[in-house]
Symmetry: D2
């Protein structure tokens, strides 16, 4: 049985003090099988985790240390990298060589083609010279529900971006089965501010973004390429779509409102709901809502869930798909643990929250 | 000269204690030409305005009274109705008969066809029997920038809904000139909670909507019909579109992100910007932002402005139009005063705020 | 050993759809020992819990039913009452008679003297005639850390109010040991809006309370009497103090800033910290922060913790005590479960969250 | 008549892009008498104001320039300094020498004694060597309501801090008339995040401070010294008090809840209200609320008002004073303009907002 294993899983977290790192520390600290073997960070190296983070004390306090490949290799089975784009690719090959399995939260291994990555992440490509073409091809895209078997046997997981996780979760069932036009898809996405990270920036100050909503990265946002890449994979041909992210005055959560055209305009919202339900049957983290019930990001806050709703405009056969996630959990650290559960032979939902504290 | 007039404008506000009413009281209280002749309200009748509203004291305090047509006729040149849908239609004909010009904030006269109204506002149509077909035809749709000449000579203005004001402001220039496909238009709109009014409802509690974003009224929202009606008017043929409103955890503001397809895919964002600029030349409340600068609702908070930005995806000729307004001002009470300025022969921007207090 | 028991604890929740009820449902649903036996509610009687609450699905769905004493007696070991003040006292005696142990979240049994209750809760006293003097004397005040032994053997627990829980947690160590003047104590408390409940009220709308802070219930708030009653108990004489609550634009959390005068002005902040640490030694839910680290309500959100900090002004021997809780958990439903754990012979922290998801 | 003057007032704003600067730009741009002569800033020097700030376009666009004393002298009658503490003192003497009157928003001239300033602002004193003892003595503390006559004839105004403005406004009437004990005063103050400025800091990110309230600067906050200095001035003897600021998840606003003991415990809340009303008679920016009506910061947002309420606990003769301001207007830039109005011989309320846009 999958969850009968009790072989320990020792995990190094590299980049522990960002928002992704904080989630990892909490999740692993409370995980029944995994344990934190070490915490790596540049800024806070030499300090006690529990003193630095009185709101997130771990059961066995650790000193934060500078990353050291040999040490990680000696103490850990897995490493989760929560590092800036580009920097991950400098550590990953070294860790893999030592036999450490890597779950990477950056964008560095999300594209099968390193050249595509260099095209999309130009600035990072200039800063970090990369030649790891094979690794890019080898890496598994960690959308847990779709790539379960690949993840199980992978030593390098590229965790999806937060927006892609939310968007493709509703597109895949329809693209894979050819139920919607792959042309003309529009993703209007809304994210809380934690998606912008913990490094202080003027536009993320409460004074600036409270009581306001605004679009950003219109047309050219980097996640467009990632979403298109996955959408194309499932459609079986190149897909180009519109993706517009918006900054919402809240901490956590992403809502994607996705517009497309049904190939068969006779399908009803109920039909489409059944399509998604069948597709995600028995998936512990995917909830399909009744037609007419629309998801609020609050409903999945602090959980690893995706909540999905679908509507169809009978007048013109257009479909509206709605999907909410917690950007820091299912959109980042939660999905990382979900993937590690799979790799480690556990049920994918071990140690992951499913119900929010409402309100 | 337009603004040389000093003939007083005495205005009755009917329904003063809702959010629309509060804006009207403030705007008229500080207006150089207009004055509040009387304040009508059911709930608070008999009470002093200034005692009830210590945060919005008017220079000459008034007792709130129950609406009385004869009294309004004696004391007022204009009446602004800030009443529930359906109820407006019961008072408006009586006021017009007495020679009072009416600016109505409800949806009652927004459709040229009363039958259309009855179809969209079914519940209200059942509650309030209406036969004022001619008035519906006569009424002027108060989108000030487009219907200036009609407004000037009208005795009954139907002020646009908040979502329609924001959405059609960016669509009109392109629909009127046939620059975009009228098929496949998608409006993804985001509103603050004040759009839901001041009557307490569970879903508008801070506890419920803070730290969350959610869609509502998907497919069937009533403003869809209003937007389509105006869009059709300017396109010269029937337009059907997708409109999805979302509730954002902020008090004021609407952002509409509008997606359409350019007829000439060779147009650039700069070209499109020039189109809008030319269209709205010399309009004091419409600001076109440089390409690449996207509007935040905060930029227009507490003002009567519309801020607009445009982007084009060169890959596929799709256009993304963004427009922000303050839903209670340009989206409601501010536009009402703008229309009254026009009717009264004043410059349209007299007494209306143009710059926000930032942040 | 305390936590070796596995005797099941079947719990009826009476009043499940308010904010307190929602917490109870979640906590018990995920509790390793307890289970929900039935869910009682007036408004939603006859409906499926999971259909009504798609964001809080329980493992075995239940129909919400109208409260029925016989049924509760047959199916439950415990009843938690999350009802309006006054109403609890109408059910409690009947439940106790049937041998059901009661944990009451209302104020009905928080005063040893029923006459005191009638004086403070005048309106409720007029609506619900009460003569249960003995029950008031018998009931145990459920501040878990202080009344552990009484709770253990009690059949009726009066769970403390949210403000009292936060305030007295920092006062008790000093009052009991006579370290501060009992005269001149000032409690300046700040609460999120969920403390005002789920029933829609104008002043709790996001539009009203967002971007604002205000005092309310100045001088006469009902929790003053409850705080004074507990403070007097520990001081050994009557204590009168100032308590001023404030409404903060956030959902969950209470911060109490408490001012008092040290009897021995030579005590330092470090000394006082040691006093509290010694007092709350081994308490799993009480965290004393290092001097100079001040607690944010966010640090305890969605947990059952109390985080405490202390400062002393050397110039004048004044002490400033700061305490944060989650008003719906330690301040309400969490403490109820903590008390049930104790009654049931479990470790007091079974099934209760200790670490927040930050941010 | 005071406001009959039409002599222009040309004002240089030095430090225009912080939150204080933004308010100044808006207020002066819309002021009927004053005009912006130049805008100085280091970071944005060389850029167009209107391009940088599309949400705050001024009628005659200006290039932001590096500060240049000679140029300021040639173009301006007044300079408002919105600079970091310490830096102001480097420019002020040079400006005064050229005959420019200076309104300083920093703390540099708020203490009559430069030595006191050096003691409180140690870090700044180390960075900026100062010997301008006479200027410190000469400078006028710009609490407009109390120092009107001094302000009128002053060439150097030290604008009060935001917390002091809010706190001392309610203390002065009682301290000056000896109605409260000067011992044991407690000020529990709550501020929005804009008080922390526009420079990005982790603790001011929306992700960090949203959904949370926390104390900071407990005991040692620098504004304590400023408040004590003013309180001592009006009491006629040294006053030491407790001041605890808190960070509230909102943009603008300060609420001070002030606790003291009445010398005559027989005074009622109504009596105390009359005391304040008489004290602030005819002051256009001070509103005394009816007893039992408590002020929300929202009521004064975007205005230059102070709203005040008072309660008395009859049991013990303790008084609770509540005062709200907009920290960026009455607490900073608004009061600066109020002072300039006075200096320029205008009515003090010219060009300053008195009524908020609610909600």
């Amino acid at each position: 049985m999958a969850n009968s294993t009790s072989k320990s899983g020792r995990i190094s977290i590299i980049g522990a003090s960002g928002y992704g790192g904080l989630q990892l520390v909490k999740l692993i600290n409370e995980h029944p099988i995994f344990e934190i073997s070490s915490l790596y960070g540049e800024r806070s190296a030499g300090k006690s985790w529990n003193k630095l983070n009185p709101f997130l004390k771990i059961s066995k306090d650790k000193e934060i240390v500078k990353s050291n490949i040999d040490e990680i290799a000696m103490t850990s089975d897995y490493a989760i990298l929560s590092l800036p784009n580009g920097l991950s690719s400098q550590l990953t090959p070294l860790l893999l060589e030592k036999g450490i399995k890597v779950v990477d939260l950056s964008a560095d291994y999300r594209f099968k083609s390193l050249d595509k990555w260099k095209e999309v992440y130009t600035k990072e490509a200039n800063k970090y010279p990369r030649f790891d073409y094979e690794l890019c091809e080898e890496a598994t895209y960690g959308f847990s529900e779709e790539f379960y078997n690949d993840i199980k046997n992978s030593r390098l997981i590229a965790c999806p971006g937060c927006y892609p996780t939310s968007s493709v979760s509703v597109l895949i069932p329809f693209l894979k089965q050819g139920l919607i036009d792959s042309e003309g898809i529009i993703i209007d996405a809304k994210s809380g501010t934690s998606g912008g990270g913990r490094n202080p920036k003027e536009e993320l100050l409460l004074s600036e973004c409270s009581e306001s909503i605004k679009p950003y990265g219109v047309i050219g946002h980097r996640h467009t390429a990632e979403i298109e890449s996955i959408a194309s994979h499932f459609a079986g041909h190149d897909v180009y779509l519109q993706f517009t992210p918006h900054l919402v005055p809240m901490v956590r959560g992403i809502l994607s409102t996705v517009y497309a055209r049904l190939r068969d305009p006779g399908l009803t919202a109920e039909d489409c709901k059944i399509v998604i339900e069948a597709f995600y049957k028995n998936q512990p983290f995917i909830d399909i809502l009744p037609v007419g019930t629309y998801p609020a990001t609050k409903w999945v806050k602090n959980t690893n869930k995706v909540m999905i709703s679908v509507e169809v405009d009978k007048r013109n056969g257009r479909i509206v798909l709605m999907s909410v996630i917690d950007n820091l959990l299912k959109g980042q650290a939660g999905q990382a643990i979900q993937n590690l559960n799979i790799i480690h032979g556990l049920d994918s939902d071990i140690g992951l929250p499913k119900i929010t504290y409402y309100p």
